[in-house]
Homo-oligomer: 358 residues x 2
């Protein structure tokens, strides 16, 4: 928080001040903040044109910037507590957008029970960039690492499905047309559902030139701002050996967990949770491997001893969170995606990367 920046931070300070409730935030009026105690800390930036599209609504961009960080805290079994916000704001964007950004970011902070500790803002001729550092309170003595998986562990996903955000991005970016997406669905039913919801969702969830489509809107909304379930943190804190969030595609992230733990991770393809439209798409000619390598899922991948299985499932309660046992940890290395017969399914493209440097 340099002074030059703190100065500009005035613009949003006033909007955020009600959320800077911790004494250590000093009302966002100082050059530094104070924190105390044990914290899990994580930092993630999202960049226009890389992690979100230039035309994405500024409100969902704000939410995404916070949530990709909250996702890391949850996956470590920590309760979100506080955040620092650095905004690199394009000169060409209208200043009014800052107010919308602040309102959305502030609303999300409140939703997750977090306070704003401070931040920094600068103008730029380049793309919009939002960098967040988030602090969480660990719910257990031990904070599970990627490296803590044990042979024999079950592999779990909790907090949502795989592939919905990828499908949403394909639709929103125009990479997939509605006729491919809608293959195999009951159009009368889909139309009825969509008509019953039309006008109740923001304009940006309707594709240009097309009637509102409820399924497409839902998938696009998961891409724009992932649904993060903070309740997952408690499950992780109580049961996880290894844990991480899935952001780069299930297969790629599972491979990282396996590599860090020095084990092999088996994924049973039929056990992976998909949303209804994603599953239909895959059963109607779509390649399900794109769903498990697509990225932007922001659910928690964790391993736990098989002996904890019953208690884990009982803890969750009926329907509160989507919990899926998708495989197991074995001796060896790498990720194997297997079919019902246990035969390996080859995965051509195990996850996207934003490469650094030329």
């Amino acid at each position: 928080m340099t002074n030059e920046s703190a100065d500009e931070f005035d613009t949003i300070r006033k909007l955020f001040a009600p959320l800077a409730t911790s004494a250590g935030a000093r009302g966002l009026a100082d050059d530094a903040a104070l924190i105390e105690g044990r914290h899990v800390v994580t930092t993630d930036a999202i960049v226009e044109g890389v992690h979100f599209l230039k035309g994405d609504p500024i409100a969902t961009v704000a939410m995404k910037a916070l949530r990709v960080n909250v996702s890391d805290l949850i996956a470590k079994g920590a309760q979100p507590r506080a955040a620092l916000l650095t905004l690199i704001w394009p000169n060409e964007r209208p200043a009014e957008d800052i107010e919308v950004f602040a309102a959305a970011f502030g609303g999300d902070l409140a939703h997750f029970g977090m306070t704003l500790l401070g931040g920094d803002t600068t103008s730029t001729d380049g793309p919009l960039i939002i960098s967040v550092t988030a602090f969480g309170e660990p719910l257990a003595e031990r904070t599970p690492a990627r490296a803590d998986a044990k042979v024999g562990d079950d592999v779990w996903l909790v907090g949502g499905e795989i592939g919905s955000a990828w499908l949403g991005l394909q639709l929103r970016s125009g990479a997939m047309q509605m006729d491919e997406f809608a293959r195999g669905r009951d159009e009368d039913e889909a139309r009825a559902t969509s008509e019953s919801l039309a006008g109740q969702t923001p304009d940006y969830l309707t594709l240009p030139g097309l009637p509102f489509d409820a399924e497409a809107a839902w998938l696009m909304s998961t891409y724009l701002a992932p649904f993060i379930r903070p309740e997952c943190a408690d499950l992780v804190a109580r049961f996880a050996n290894a844990s991480m969030d899935v952001s780069d595609g299930l297969v790629a992230d599972a491979a990282k967990l396996a590599a860090a733990s020095g084990v092999s991770l088996r994924i049973e393809a039929t056990a992976v949770p998909f949303s209804i439209p994603a599953e239909r798409w895959a059963f109607s000619g779509g390649d399900f491997r794109k769903l498990i390598t697509g990225g932007d899922d922001y659910v928690v991948l964790f391993t736990a001893p098989a002996s904890a299985r019953a208690e884990l499932e009982a803890t969750l309660g009926a329907g509160a969170l989507r919990l899926s046992r998708i495989g197991a940890i074995e001796a060896g290395e790498g990720v194997r995606v297997v079919d019902l017969q246990g035969d390996a399914i080859p995965i051509p493209n195990a996850g996207f990367r934003h490469k650094l440097g030329r």
Copy 2:
């Protein structure tokens, strides 16, 4: 630390791993880090074309990115301990630059006794951006705020001079020519000094088409990577009522301190510390008001009770740090810069700001 990012962070992880010495950093191999205890925390980003020039050496850019954050910690009386690093790296920059960046950033971390906790990297088509979050251990129970100045306090600067970085930027950017800068100096002496040092400094400290000039080189180096003196933190922790670092220009930052404290701050123009070339420039037709409004100084501005004056000066020791009593806190509001007669000097341009939004 999303996975997609942690992935790319591999590139520099290997270079940094020796510096990630705290257990909480988890060897930079996890999605989050752990911290414990009381911390002062600050975050600052520097942006190509705004806080540094596109042609600035990547090594000094790395140092500047860390030091502007360390400066905030020092000014709060905290000892630097750890940092998170977020790199938004232009696609057009050669990947080899990353190694130079990492070596310089790592060297600076070691210099300040800090460890790397983690980070995030993304490629971009826009400008290079480095966002750092820094953690410091407060050296006293109380952490001085901007708002803590009391009427009757002395106003101090510690850790360096004012205006050197501004002069360095003018020379480096070509906004000021050497003949204006060199007005009034003994050119034979200057040439002798420069010749005795030529070849011992990096090429980027020589202006294109000109012979190496020792004074210009020194001023440019303070702009490129400010000299930060961590020893200042102890003085702040022991004596400061209010404190902040000077980064936006002495007058602008003094005005912020005065406003936050609800007081008036008097600056005695003749008591402000300048470097020898800056003072000569001001006495040879330069406008000294540009030195005190220019920015990028990164020294500590603090207030302390007049009763502590003798002890404060004795604590410092002879010559260890440049300490200057530049004025006093009075009832009222705003900043008054006064001459030897106590008459106010009008200040036309009280500090630069990187405005946000259009």
